[in-house]
């Protein structure tokens, strides 16, 4: 009986701590690259995205664009979390014109914390100016309570 209770409690904890996701698609309408958005999951929010389309794509034999999206995220929840964010920008025909992910690299984003996450688009970037919409997915993993003290997060 006791074992069953312990197992049930463990299952409940693992379910509640499982990573959650939320997804939203936005029209691509940045002004000077900046677009205000609202995406939230468990009080972890993304409220701004800045698209930086590289004017000077690497020339010569080395091919790598500096295009990127920088997202501003905040943790208004009561506990530390690890956050992943994926961005997929699409043109009118449904082609991916940019895709990537960013997030917490190490440690946890502490309650009340805010950080910028840069997502780079180094290899699929040539049609970014043709973007018509973009999809954001936020993935939130709460810190397990049994772990030690949370170190400060270091985002990308």
């Amino acid at each position: 009986m006791r074992r069953a209770l312990v197992a049930a409690a463990g299952l409940a904890v693992s379910v509640s701590l499982a990573a959650q996701q939320r997804t939203k698609t936005f029209d691509y309408k940045p002004v000077d690259g900046i677009q205000s958005i609202q995406l939230a999951l468990d009080e972890v929010t993304v409220d701004q995205i800045v698209f930086r389309t590289a004017k000077d794509v690497a020339t010569g034999p080395r091919l790598r664009s500096n295009s990127e999206a920088v997202l501003r995220l905040g943790n208004a929840s009561p506990g530390p979390v690890a956050v992943g964010i994926a961005v997929v920008a699409l043109d009118e025909g449904g082609n991916i014109v940019a895709a990537g992910s960013g997030g917490t690299r190490a440690g946890w984003l502490l309650p009340g914390g805010r950080e910028s996450v840069a997502i780079r688009f180094p290899y699929v970037y040539r049609n970014l100016a043709k973007a018509r919409k973009f999809t954001l997915t936020i993935e939130v993993e709460p810190k397990p309570s049994a772990a030690g003290p949370a170190p400060e997060a270091t985002g990308q």
Binding site: A86, N95, Y123, V124
Partner: protein
């Protein structure tokens, strides 16, 4: 007479530049890898993506590192007669339209030479925790021919009609629209 010469020159320039335009092709597939391996057939001109090898990776448990080693290995062939720059993007969705993995990779140096095969690893370091819920994925190939720098780009998309996601999937988020079918 002069007008005719100009028209001929313009026609010649158009013919020369046509195959060099940057292009993109997109295809959507159901998630059905066997031991991580899934055969696909995404073609942009003579550039072909024929195989993806998904690895759901792992994280360094017990450390502060949150990055995952999840990735997909993409096999690309240039079956054409000219060298090309190639970019490949892969986005994996669950049944509800959430992105469970996304990334891109491509030519880092020079060109993918005609007749050559190469492999690109696309990492999924930050969004990976629900990759076991994958239900479909889309692949986009972006190509640009040699000497077409600054050229106007054209895009086209095609959907694999056999692998459209099931209509019964519940969507809690705003879903991504399917790529539009290729125009004849």
């Amino acid at each position: 007479m002069r007008l005719g010469k100009l028209a001929s020159a313009g026609l010649f320039a158009a013919l020369v530049s046509a195959p060099l335009l940057g292009q993109a092709t997109t295809k959507k597939y159901d998630w059905a890898p066997i031991n991580g391996v899934q055969e696909v057939d995404v073609k942009d001109g003579e550039i072909v993506v024929s195989q993806l090898v998904f690895d759901q990776g792992s994280t360094m448990k017990g450390t502060p590192i949150r990055k995952s080693s999840a990735d997909v290995r993409v096999r690309i062939d240039n079956n054409g007669l000219s060298d090309e720059q190639v970019g490949v993007a892969v986005v994996v969705f669950d049944a509800e339209g959430n992105v469970v993995a996304a990334g891109s990779n491509g030519t880092k140096w020079g060109y993918l030479n005609k007749g050559q095969r190469t492999y690109y690893n696309i990492d999924f370091p930050y969004v990976y925790r629900r990759m076991d819920q994958a239900a479909s994925f889309i692949v986009t190939i972006e190509t640009q021919g040699k000497a077409s720098k600054g050229a106007k780009t054209e895009t086209k998309a095609e959907t694999n009609p056999e692998t459209k996601p099931s209509a019964s999937a519940s969507v809690s988020s705003e879903p991504l629209s399917d790529p539009k079918p290729e125009q004849p």
